[in-house]
């Protein structure tokens, strides 16, 4: 057991979760006092001792499922290892359910339709035992798993889901449920609840399929090898430019607590930061109580530095999600700045400040920016040169010595003119011009990236690829 825990911890560390020696010792001690037969207790025990932040929990659960994969009991273990013995397989399911309707005639092979029927029943009645069996069968049948292949299982999952048509199932169940009592018109609430309920069950089914595939992969290749192929970065370490849709969703969720934490930190920093200059008047006033001797000097409260922020963000293609996060985060902290104005561009530029002022939720505003801003001038390919000179013509007057200009983009200009003189001029007018580049530093100035040309006129160019880097950058800014 201790060996397994050590290996498990090594895996967690590789996934980026910091685990100290003491925590390891705690986990080992804790395992000694609990009943090991109960998998869920073991899971919670290890979670309580090893991870200290809820953001790490998904990574923990994934690793736990791999390292402490449930072993099959004897009965279904057999079918598991010899998929060709379909007879035994059908038997167990038939007992459960085919008995009354299917009869004994079709013991051998279940047809795909029957499998679908079983699955529908399982979801309809929320019967987890039946679900487990159906999932088992579906994976055997559709995943087409090849032993020894070094994959994480995403493809297998795709293959199973393609064959199962879960959306169709969901639709059917919702329709069926809402017309189950003829004559009774269901209210809007009931309808909605039913739909959500079915959606939840379908999600459960999906997760069960995923877990089953993973379990088989563990059996095939061993925990360590599989862990290596499915390991995912922690939310704050996800590379925004290459994030999948699912990852973007995770990021969005972690953005809200992140901005809240950052706001609290900045507020504290401001309150405790510095002491202002001597307040001569107040000192003299207080010295009266000590006979005119200024024993207790008084200080003025410091003027908070509230920079004006101009954000100029490239929202083309892959950089778009990055721009959205930055806008979201800056607006969540709007109280720390005296003014925030935002502009987005692809090859044309448009001011989007009003979207954020009107909406009371930065995330919603960021979504509207993507759909409503007029950013295309000619062909919808990034043209920094045109966008910047356009910015200069329309808004440069407003940039003054209190302004910090942040430019977001990869500076991939599609070989258009650079108009770097705009950046140079902005630098003269503004307090700072900062460039945030979501590309790794090694890619800079390769291909059509002309970051160096602009960079020559910026106060700093920062590589910001992950939320962690973004957070650090914005904390510096205030």
């Amino acid at each position: 057991m201790l060996d397994v825990i050590a290996a498990f911890i090594a895996e967690l560390r590789k996934a980026g979760i910091p685990i100290s020696m003491t925590e390891h010792v705690d986990a080992a001690k804790a395992v000694g006092v609990i009943a090991l037969e109960e998998r869920e207790t073991l899971r919670e025990t290890l979670a309580a001792t090893l991870i200290k932040s809820q953001e790490h929990r998904p990574a923990f659960d994934l690793a736990f499922d791999i390292y402490f994969a449930p072993r099959r009991g004897k009965t279904n273990g057999d079918q598991e290892h010899s998929p060709e013995e379909q007879g035994g397989d059908g038997d167990s399911i038939e007992d459960q359910l085919l008995g009354p309707e299917g009869g004994f005639g079709q013991r051998r092979e279940m047809s795909a339709e029957e499998l679908m029927q079983l699955m529908e029943d399982a979801v309809r009645r929320n019967d987890t035992t039946l679900r487990t069996r159906v999932v088992n069968e579906a994976v055997t049948r559709f995943a087409g798993m090849t032993p020894g292949r070094p994959v994480g299982g995403t493809y297998y999952l795709y293959r199973v889901l393609r064959n199962l048509d879960l959306e169709g199932l969901q639709q059917r169940l919702v329709d069926e449920a809402s017309t189950s009592r003829p004559g009774v018109q269901l209210g809007a609430i009931e309808q909605r609840l039913l739909a959500d309920d079915v959606a939840r069950r379908i999600r459960g089914l999906r997760l069960a399929i995923e877990a089953e595939i993973r379990r088989r992969l563990v059996e095939d290749r061993g925990a360590e090898a599989l862990a290596r192929s499915v390991r995912k970065p922690l939310p704050e370490d996800i590379d925004v430019m290459h994030a999948t849709r699912e990852e973007i969703h995770t990021l969005e969720r972690s953005l809200v607590p992140l901005s809240r934490k950052l706001a609290v930190r900045l507020m504290r920093k401001r309150r405790h930061g510095r002491r202002g200059p001597l307040d001569f008047r107040a000192t003299m006033r207080h010295s009266l109580s000590t006979g005119g001797v200024p024993i207790d000097p008084k200080y003025k409260n410091p003027r908070p530095s509230k920079p004006e922020i101009f954000i100029i963000a490239d929202v083309s293609g892959s950089v778009a999600s990055f721009a959205r996060f930055t806008l979201h985060l800056v607006y969540a902290l709007a109280s720390s700045f005296s003014k925030v104005r935002s502009f987005v561009f692809v090859d044309g530029i448009d001011e989007v400040t009003h979207h954020f002022d009107e909406a009371n939720d930065p995330a919603e505003a960021a979504n509207r920016v993507n759909t409503e801003a007029k950013v295309v001038w000619v062909d919808g390919h990034s043209d920094y040169g045109h966008a910047l000179s356009d910015f200069h013509a329309r808004y440069a007057e407003d940039v003054n010595s209190r302004t910090t200009v942040m430019i977001l983009g990869d500076a991939r200009n599609n070989y258009h003119q650079s108009s770097a003189w705009v950046v140079a001029d902005l630098q003269k007018r503004a307090r700072h011009v900062l460039w945030l580049n979501p590309e790794p530093q090694t890619y800079w100035n390769s291909g059509d990236s002309i970051i160096a040309e602009y960079g020559a006129h910026c106060d700093s160019i920062t590589e910001v690829r992950t939320l962690r880097q973004l957070e650090a950058f914005i904390a510096e800014l205030v």
């Binding site: 001690k29 009943a35 919670e44 309580a48 809007a188 909605r192 609840l193």
Partner: protein, 292 residues
């Protein structure tokens, strides 16, 4: 020290008896906290029963609850101990008046004795003779530096007072720290604690909670309330309804004499559940406009 609980299952059972419905992670963590004599750091959204957990554990173990409410600016003299400086002054004056010629060294030993010590929650928990549960509420509100005050108490169950020496706990108290996660706690603190995340309950558990906590509610209504709240939480709201808000809502419906939630009623009482106008509008839009 004898253990308070035999197994996670017994923790769950006894908490249930005290009208607190734990899930498996709560039960196992409380069990472990007792077995390993470690504090528990409870984290999660507001209104999910973090503080209540400590209260309920105190109740089932028959212990006294000592609560330290944290706030910005909390310091040693509020959290640990303070010398009763007025009483010390009186003692010195008394010795001068009576003129018994006590030497300073004797007097000093005298005025820094336990008689002159004002115990604050942390020290009180350590010195208690009877079983206690120490609740350090909203630890994330204190500054990073103040956190360090608690480290000795949390890991060694002792407090060092320079004039007196070290006070060690006579019995290991159960310690709960709660945090709303408004800032990152220090590594040193987290390392010393078991971590427990109390999130929103599943629909089944929430229904049970509603049934136990709201007297006079029908099973049907409780079920409907739990399902509606469960669905609401899946929407992208600024503030998802917490368990305590669910309970408030259920109570409101009971007071209104409802058997089940109708559109009309839901629309009128939604403000009990949701605290932002934009959220209320969104919920109305999603729930009350029938999809045709």
């Amino acid at each position: 020290m004898s253990a308070r609980f035999e197994s996670p299952a017994s923790v769950a059972e006894r908490l249930r008896a005290a009208e607190y419905l734990p899930d498996s992670s709560i039960a196992s963590t409380v069990f472990l906290a007792d077995q390993l004599a470690k504090p528990v750091l409870v984290e999660g959204p507001a209104g999910t029963g973090k503080t209540q957990l400590a209260k309920s554990v105190a109740e089932i173990t028959g212990a006294r609850l000592i609560r330290l409410q944290c706030y910005e600016g909390l310091d040693e003299s509020k959290a640990l101990y303070e010398w009763n400086y007025r009483k010390q002054l009186l003692r010195i004056q008394a010795s001068q008046v009576s003129g018994d010629g006590q030497k300073w060294s004797e007097l000093e030993g005298d005025i820094f004795a336990e008689d002159f010590l004002l115990t604050r929650p942390l020290l009180e928990a350590i010195r208690a003779e009877d079983p206690v549960v120490l609740l350090i509420d909203e630890i994330d509100r204190v500054e990073l530096e103040t956190e360090a005050l608690m480290l000795e108490v949390l890991s060694e169950y002792q407090v060092s007072i320079p004039e007196l020496g070290t006070v060690t706990a006579k019995q290991t108290p159960m310690v709960f720290l709660t945090s709303n996660n408004t800032r990152e706690l220090s590594e040193a603190l987290k390392r010393r604690c078991l971590f427990l995340h109390v999130g929103y309950p599943t629909i089944e558990r929430e229904r049970e909670i509603v049934e136990t906590r709201v007297p006079g509610i029908t099973t049907e209504l409780a079920d409907q309330v739990a399902r509606i709240v469960g669905s609401l939480r899946e929407l992208d709201l600024r503030k998802a309804p917490s368990v305590s808000e669910t309970l408030d809502w259920a109570r409101t419906l009971v007071v209104l004499g409802q058997e089940s939630v109708t559109e009309q009623q839901a629309s009128e009482t939604l403000h009990v559940l949701l605290k932002y106008q934009s959220d209320i509008d969104k919920a109305r839009h999603e729930f009350l406009v029938a999809k045709s």
